[in-house]
Structures are given as C-alpha cells and as structure tokens.
Symmetry: C2
Subunit: 140 residues, 2 copies
Amino acid sequence: MTTSEAAVQSLSIGEVAERTGLSVHALRFYEREGLLVGPVQRTSGGRRRYTSFDVEWLLICVKLRESGMPLADLKHFAELVRRGPGNESERLHLLDTHRQRVDAQIQALEECRSVITWKVAVYTEHLARGEAGGLWAPTT
Amino acid sequence: MTTSEAAVQSLSIGEVAERTGLSVHALRFYEREGLLVGPVQRTSGGRRRYTSFDVEWLLICVKLRESGMPLADLKHFAELVRRGPGNESERLHLLDTHRQRVDAQIQALEECRSVITWKVAVYTEHLARGEAGGLWAPTT
DNA sequence: GCTTGATCTAGACCTCGCTCTAGATCATAG
DNA sequence: CTATGATCTAGAGCGAGGTCTAGATCAAGC
C-alpha cells in the first residue's frame, strides 16, 4: 500500500473528492452543514480521514442530490441516521417521498423531450426543403 | 367577449401568467433579459399586450426551462429566431444539444430511482422484521 | 533544512433565477 | 368622482448551493 499502512481503508479529502465527484470545498461544506452522519476522523495533524462508511454515505448523498433532493432534506436524513435505530419509518417516508418526486421529474422530462424532438423534426424538415420562412408562426 | 373587443387575441400580463404558469414578475424579467423574440406590444396606457405568438413562445420557454435549459441558452435561441431565417441549422443544433442533455438527465434520474427503490426495500424489510440495527454498515 | 503540494479554518463572494418593494399610473365598477 | 385592483419602472433582495481567498500548517522528498 502506498497511501496507508496502519490507516486501513481511510482516505484523505482529496481522495474522497476523486471518488465521489464532489470538490474538496464541497466536502468541507457538507460537513459544516451537518450532512454527514458522524464527525469525520482526524489525524494527529488535523487532517480529515474518511472511512469507507463515510464514502458510501457520500455516494448516496451524491445520488440523492443528483436527483434533486434539497440539502435540507439530506440533512434531515443524516440526522435521522445519526440518531440511530427507532426512526426507520421516518427514513422510509423521506425516501419514498423523494422517489415520488423523481418519478414526477422523469415524467416531466419525457414530456419535454417529446416537445423538443418534435421541434427538431420541424426544423430538420424545413431545412431539408430549403425553406425556413413562417417557421415560428402561431401554427408552428 | 369580456376582456377584448377590437383587441383580438391579445392578453394582459396577468392572463399570460395564468396561462404559462410564470409569475408576472418572471414575465417582466424574461422580457428585460431578452428572452422574448420580439418586443411586447403596449396599449396607449403603457400596459403590455401579449399576442398568441408570444404566448406560444413562452410555453416553449417553459418547457425548455423545466428541462433545465439555462436562461442564457434560451436567450441565444430567442436571438437566433429574432434574426430571422438563415440560421436554422444553428437553432437545430441548440435544440439537439439540449435534447441530449435531457436524455442524460432522464438516464441519471432512472439510476437514482433504482438506488432509492433499493434503499426503500432494505428499510421496509428491516422494518418488517422489527430489527434495524447495523443498517448503515458498510455492507448495507 | 528546504521546497513543494495538500490540507486546514473562517469567512467573503459568486451565479442563477427569480421575487419583492416603492411609488406612480391606468382602468373599471359603483 | 372615487375606490379598487391591475400594471408600470427601477432597482434591491433572496435562497440555494456551492466556490474561492488568505494565511497558516502539515507531510514528504531531496
């Protein structure tokens, strides 16, 4: 192992940034905002050491963020997990609510997609014909 | 007709807001930002009158925004249309590029969805069993 | 020891996309 | 004529989600 000897499976902030796609700035920001389940461990010199647990959690965070979950909800989720067992149904509810939002988003995007596709087709056709006037008339 | 007599098919800003889902503030903002194809007509008293053409354009804008097109791109698109015929391939390119982004977004969302679904299933199962410890262990 | 690069903290700053305010004007119903 | 409500302009403000800076410290290689 090059990076660690006794530090089994613990990563620096830079390594975690690489692995999660978040910037080191964002990682520190997320921590400050209480989006992580536990406090990140530190070396004697004060540098952060992330466990594989931390990284897994962050990867989930990334997925939830990508799908539009607000940081506030993510924070809430982290708090629930931090509090430990006993609130699983609340966690379940949070995730399920989000899944519904994701479904709605997918639907909306598919609708947009078809509108765009149609518009593209109109343009392509007009271009092929070499005529482009009257394109954005009310009936287009 | 209640609202118009000679003003065939022209709407007030409030009516357009209702029809597009944009706020009147947003409508004025869009206009200022040059997101509309033409300048909106005004009454002698200075109030905006939107044509059905304007409304159609705005509805397209709404769809493009909903699917994540930045205002800057929308502005660019409006400029192209404003310049008139001769740049259709550029418009086509703009739309097609956006469609690709939408496709990518849909894909990403579907991936997120499946991650969430799986997570929900894990929780549900644990809840059903009445055991919740060790839930967020690295292997979960 | 010295240099180089990664990391540290606190806090200022930024972009995006609106939203809201103030103070005035217009338009319509009673 | 008056009251009410919609609209006007210019510009300030806001929430989300980071990003960046300054100045210091740590750690590794030469």
